[in-house]
């Protein structure tokens, strides 16, 4: 395949992925919006007004960046894991596997599809958050940079999960038992200063902590973690996951007999 053909193959995968989640928008776009609105109403308005300040910010302002990041993470992940596993289950992944499309194009296509949904939902949640909280943007490059890298990383994670999955149960286990606890313990709702030295140190092994803090820094200018370190960690995780996902596609693990 020449470069033009590769571009056509890539854009076909991305277009198909976007078309898929747009076609089933009541399942893919509406639920995360409703969930985040509930978070804003309950944790931001009802409980948040009694909490007062967190890290010298009104609680709703503190929690808003974490909630936006949460929607980006869960939607990037769930789009790729459900789409790729669905293709495996229906065996239409074979349409791609028999074609001359290189594996790295397949990987990028699915990941960009996941990022399109993650960032799209994230943008809608950001617009909604303006209704609940007032905040100015502290650093646009940091905000955009970290949200892009986070979406990339969790799209890759979703793809790896889908490749390994052998049943629909397998694609819900990781989000339920790994992703959700990591998000809740990743500093979305609290500053790790509240945890004390031991649990604060334990929290540092949670990659979501770095993403949420870097994003919060970009939006409101406060963070528990060094932002440079956050970018380095997310970048490292992304490179490792990209390598692993590509290796799995190259070897045909769980895709080819």
């Amino acid at each position: 395949m020449d470069n033009t053909q590769k571009w056509i193959a890539f854009s076909t995968i991305v277009r198909r992925e976007i078309h898929r989640f747009m076609r089933i928008w009541p399942q893919t776009l509406v639920p995360p919006i409703i969930t985040i609105v509930l978070y804003f109403v309950i944790f931001g308005r009802l409980i948040g007004s009694r909490i007062g300040e967190m890290a010298e910010l009104p609680y709703i302002q503190f929690v808003a960046p974490g909630l936006i990041m949460m929607s980006v993470i869960t939607n990037s992940y769930s789009n790729v894991v459900s789409s790729f596993y669905g293709s495996k289950f229906q065996r239409n992944i074979e349409e791609l596997l028999v074609s001359p499309t290189p594996n790295w194009i397949i990987l990028l296509g699915y990941v960009c599809g996941g990022m399109a949904r993650g960032l799209g939902v994230g943008a809608m949640v950001t617009l909604l958050s303006l209704y609940f909280a007032d905040f100015s943007l502290h650093s646009l490059p940091i905000t955009i940079g970290i949200v892009l890298m986070t979406s990339l990383m969790f799209s890759l994670a979703g793809l790896i999960n889908a490749i390994f999955a052998g049943s629909f149960d397998d694609i819900s286990i990781i989000p339920t038992f790994v992703l959700t606890p990591l998000i809740y313990l990743g500093g979305v709702f609290y500053s790790i200063d509240l945890l004390g030295e031991f649990w604060g140190t334990v929290s540092l092994i949670n990659p979501i902590l770095y993403m949420v803090n870097a994003f919060r820094y970009g939006m409101v200018g406060i963070t528990d973690i060094d932002v440079t370190y956050s970018f380095a960690m997310v970048g490292l995780f992304s490179v490792v996951m990209f390598g692993l996902a590509l290796r799995l596609l190259e070897t045909g693990s769980r895709l080819r007999s």
Partner: protein
């Protein structure tokens, strides 16, 4: 390196051993010339689908080489795939997508620009009588329509080699005939076709050459014509004008009465069917029609597979 004089498919010492130790292919060799209409026959589990899976890279081979029009599927991955289209046995398209989208997307995976992809999708959907259904969710199509959709999808990049795994399984007679005509037409236009089938009548009607695979080995690879010359006995069913109260007897012809108006007889290649008709007429029995009891190729197929089984049993 590659041109149309190269074999459409050249397989050398192809071996496949699955992770559980099952040896599905035991070093097979196969050559399919360009423009051929080739049948790959064999009982269930013989290795047909594994061979096709390796050709289209859905199955990883253990050893051996596979070349498609001279392009090695390992070394010239992209070129080899551009030259082959595959119609699998099971439906493997997204049941929620529309036929037009399935075809246009598949074209995209081969790097075909959108305008050309739409033109080809229209062409093949029309040729396969699916154009009216182009915007219908594919899950609502009938079984025959789904099979035709997979053929259209396999042709969207206009491959020089089309491989079909049981293309007419579960398809009604009328549709099967129309699919045969379609395949014969694209073969006439230059596309090499390889098919596996359980309907040996299909192989006899369509194909020029045949390979019979059994227990992962090619037990016969020849032309259909050559194969049929090896047939020593054919069994015919004769329909008679007169009611027969008992089975007539004709020396040298083992007749068996099926019912009051039909007889069954095994005729050896050296014998003359006219002689039988004459003998029956002398007994006042007139034959009004005659048909093969079983497909001729079917008899040969069973003979070969049975022979292979006995050879294995004898070590």
């Amino acid at each position: 390196m590659n041109d149309s004089t190269q074999p459409a498919l050249a397989i050398k010492q192809l071996n496949k051993t699955y992770e559980d130790g099952f040896e599905a292919l035991k070093g097979i060799d196969l050559n399919v010339p360009p423009g051929d209409f080739f049948a790959l026959l064999g009982p269930n589990g013989a290795g047909k689908s594994t061979t096709i899976g390796i050709i289209c890279s859905l199955v990883r081979k253990t050893a051996g080489t596979v070349k498609i029009f001279g392009y090695d599927i390992d070394k010239d991955f992209s070129a080899a795939k551009q030259h082959v289209g595959v119609v699998p046995q099971e439906f493997n398209f997204n049941q929620f997508e529309k036929p037009i989208d399935i075809l246009v997307n598949q074209a995209g995976f081969y790097g075909i620009p959108a305008k050309l992809a739409h033109e080809r999708a229209e062409k093949y959907l029309k040729q396969l009588a699916l154009w009216e259904k182009r915007d219908t969710p594919s899950r609502t199509l009938s079984g025959g329509m789904k099979r035709r959709l997979m053929i259209a999808r396999a042709l969207i990049h206009e491959p020089k080699l089309l491989v079909l795994d049981e293309p007419t399984a579960g398809v009604d007679i009328e549709l099967r005939r129309s699919m045969w005509e379609f395949l014969q037409e694209i073969n006439r236009q230059g596309t090499t076709i390889i098919l596996t089938t359980h309907y040996l009548e299909e192989a006899e009607s369509l194909c020029r050459n045949v390979a019979i695979i059994d227990h992962g080995e090619i037990v016969k690879n020849t032309s259909i014509r050559e194969l049929l010359t090896q047939l020593n006995t054919e069994t015919f069913v004769l329909d008679t004008k007169e009611q027969m109260d008992q089975c007539p007897e004709v020396s040298g012809y083992p007749l068996k009465q099926v019912d009051g108006h039909s007889l069954e007889v095994a005729v050896e290649k050296s014998q003359s069917i006219n002689e039988l008709f004459g003998a029956l007429t002398e007994q006042g029995i007139h034959v009004v029609s005659m048909r093969n009891k079983t497909n001729r190729l079917e008899e040969l197929f069973f003979d070969l597979v049975e022979k292979n089984l006995q050879e294995k049993a004898n070590g």
